[in-house]
């Protein structure tokens, strides 16, 4: 691939028609010590996940704790690299770890973390933190300082006043602003936002969400948003994918997914959101408890908690397929507009009999 032009700093990101981020059959696993055994057990955090994100688009990935969404985000950053599968960002295969990709990485993907107090080195000054991603870009000191000051100003901080502070001398909201500045200072092609406002209090949350939306519009940024707060998703995202136990259940535009979810898990997730208006759709409750990712259920991973599960769900894993324009679902019995399964027979596409 065109690995050459990434060395030059000011080259704009390729603006061809292909998606910015292409993830194909991504697998991420971790081994954890197993009780009563010398051998380690394998946790399947991300299991055969594929999706694309277009330029300037925001894809949100939502799911519960343990759904693998944070593992997915970290895998995109190469920390750690995936077990299997491909990740292409802006035409560069980032699963290959060589000098060229390492050097280009701060221009390809950056992450904004959940907890700013962990994302900022407590022994560094704001100035040094924000300029870190510029280190490998071959800029002069003056250029670097200017970029840092510009970016700090852009995220609502005052370079004169804040750049010599340490993170502990800033409020939580200011810390997250520094983290945002750090991530965006190198103008990365893709920005991964891992629960960017969860650790902040309510008033600061809305300010930071607003800032993220502004920055996105101003610089045409591409976000991959990891969130469990669906309100944040509604504000920032164009498309949403729901994840359960390392698999993508459903993927659709924000409007479609929130109005007519087709996967029972999506529907359950949505009906769990507290609401001040009576629901017109029947409330869907999850059954039981989340199963262990060490030993996920056979067939459809959601079946143990699904109200509509049938025999076939235990044996055949449903494939992700299009049920409506732009709406992909991995379910044998997707829900119709009324919130009940629309079919009684699994569709051949979801069984995988059609290529």
């Amino acid at each position: 691939m065109a690995a050459r032009n990434i060395g030059s700093v000011n080259s704009p990101h390729q603006s061809s028609g292909e998606p910015l981020l292409v993830v194909t059959n991504l697998v991420q696993e971790f081994s954890v010590p197993k009780r009563g055994s010398l051998r380690n057990a394998t946790v399947s955090a991300v299991a055969d996940v594929s999706f694309v994100v277009d330029r300037g688009e925001t894809l949100a990935i939502v799911g519960e704790t343990g759904s693998g969404k944070t593992s997915l985000a970290r895998t995109l950053l190469g920390a750690p690299p995936p077990k299997k599968g491909g990740i292409t960002i802006d035409g560069h295969d980032v699963t290959k770890r060589n000098r060229a990709t390492r050097k280009a990485q701060s221009r390809l993907v950056q992450m904004i973390f959940q907890d700013p107090s962990s994302a900022l080195d407590p022994t560094w000054s704001v100035q040094r933190i924000v300029s870190e991603p510029l280190q490998k870009l071959g800029l002069s000191r003056q250029e670097r300082d200017d970029r840092v000051a510009d970016t700090l100003r852009r995220v609502g901080l005052n370079p004169e006043r804040h750049s010599r502070r340490r993170p502990s001398e800033l409020s939580g909201g200011q810390q997250q602003r520094v983290a945002i500045a750090r991530a965006l200072v190198g103008r990365p092609a893709l920005t991964v936002l891992d629960e960017p406002v969860t650790a902040l209090d309510a008033a600061t949350q809305s300010q930071v969400v607003e800032l993220l939306a502004e920055l996105k519009n101003e610089f045409g940024l591409t976000y991959l948003l990891i969130a469990h707060d669906l309100a944040v998703v509604q504000q920032l995202a164009d498309r949403v994918a729901t994840m359960y136990l390392g698999k993508i259940c459903e993927e659709a535009s924000v409007a479609t997914l929130f109005s007519t979810p087709a996967h029972p898990y999506t529907a359950a997730l949505l009906s769990a959101i507290p609401s001040f208006t009576p629901d017109e759709r029947p409330r869907l409750r999850l059954l039981g408890e989340p199963p262990s990712p060490i030993d996920p259920p056979t067939g459809c991973r959601f079946r143990t908690r699904c109200a509509f599960a049938q025999e076939v769900c235990a044996t055949v894993e449903p494939r992700l397929r299009e049920v409506a324009p732009g709406q992909n679902v991995a379910c044998h019995f997707p829900l119709g507009a009324d919130g009940t399964p629309s079919t009684t027979v699994p569709a051949p596409e979801s069984l995988g009999t059609v290529a």
Binding site: E64, A202, A203, V232, Q235, L269, I273, P274, E289
Partner: protein, 347 residues
């Protein structure tokens, strides 16, 4: 919500003019004449941002504030007895029999080195007949509690350590411990904010169920306006240690009158804050203790807001607001200012 006479449901918590100050410090108190009621089988939500005094209120009611650091005044009635008059030891004993507290973080509330069943069983031993319970009886009572809070397969779970359980299960265990002494009222301090939405819904379902089945009264502390609106019966909004609005839950999103409450609602996604806001008039505030707590950011402020604390006045039956110019209502009679400063009127 009629507040009169004999037909009234049993009031489990009845707090009036609760004021908490840092000992020996003049000026703004931490809590300024807070009044709260919780009725049997009902949920009162106490809503506010961090630092508004939500947790301080619970601590003051439960009597777990250090009285060397804080001066507490006001009448605090829990289950028909005035606890503010009791001696510390007696008070704590009484409170522990009738009320229980559920914390925000279940992981911190449980002992990580002890299996979950024995932790619940141990809690049952604080009941009046607790010390005489046989091990078998305590075990059975723990299993019973675990069933009650919806822990599946309690006999097996009995021997699980907290770290082997999901966050939702841990919070259920904490609730089981809270129920171990058969309390009449639960104080829930942000019990779901460390949980996923799906788990949050299940825990809230459990609280609803306990309310209906055991007639528990619940004081639900949260910063989440929508959560409060979806589950509570009465909502009280706390700002800078003052109750600024108190209303039946149906009024919250429809007819909130205090500008602070309305600004909180505008911050809820989907409520975009489209309504036109008047330009703020410049205002000097001499002393915060004698001004409305929201005067600094209020779009509707007038001169009096900076000099007189508005009374908590009933603007509609059952709907009280602490505001001189409640939105959608005629302004308060300003002659009330000196007569009833800081106190509740209209009742």
């Amino acid at each position: 919500m009629s507040e009169s006479g004999a037909a009234m449901p049993e009031r489990l918590v009845d707090v009036e003019n609760l004021t908490v100050r840092v000992s020996g410090r003049e000026g703004m108190p931490i809590l300024d004449s807070v009044s709260i009621t919780v009725e049997a089988g009902k949920m009162t939500a106490l809503v506010g941002e961090s630092g508004a005094g939500k947790s301080m209120t619970t601590k003051a009611i439960l009597g777990i504030l250090d009285d060397r650091l804080f001066d507490v005044s006001g009448r605090i009635e829990v289950c028909g007895e005035d606890v503010s008059a009791m001696k510390t030891k007696q008070r704590r004993q009484y409170i522990s029999r009738v009320a229980a507290l559920v914390f925000q973080n279940p992981t911190r509330a449980l002992n990580p080195t002890m299996r979950i069943g024995p932790q619940i069983a141990e809690a049952t031993r604080f009941a009046p007949d607790g010390p005489h319970l046989s091990d078998k009886a305590a075990h059975d009572r723990a299993i019973e509690l675990m069933k009650q809070v919806g822990i599946a397969a309690p006999e097996e779970r009995y021997f699980a350590f907290p770290h082997q359980m999901s966050g939702g299960m841990k919070q259920r265990a904490v609730i089981a411990i809270a129920l171990s002494l058969n309390p009449k009222v639960l104080f829930c301090d942000e019990p779901t904010s460390s949980l996923d939405v799906t788990t949050q819904a299940l825990i809230m379902d459990l609280l609803d169920e306990l309310r209906a089945r055991l007639g528990l009264g619940i004081l639900f502390i949260t910063h989440d306006l929508v959560l409060a609106a979806s589950r509570a019966d009465t909502v009280q909004v706390l700002h800078s240690g003052r109750v600024v609005e108190k209303m039946p839950v149906d009024d919250l999103f429809q007819r909130a009158a205090m500008p602070y409450t309305r600004d909180l609602i505008a911050r809820v996604p989907g409520f975009g804050g489209d309504e036109p806001r008047p330009t703020m008039i410049p205002l000097e505030v001499a002393s915060p203790a004698h001004a409305c707590s929201y005067v600094g950011e209020c779009a509707f402020r007038q001169g009096i807001c900076g000099t007189q604390v508005p009374p908590l006045a009933e603007i509609e039956p059952g709907h009280l607001a602490r505001c001189w110019f409640p939105v959608g209502h005629p302004p308060l009679d300003q002659s009330l200012a000196t007569a009833h400063e800081g106190a509740s009127i209209g009742r």
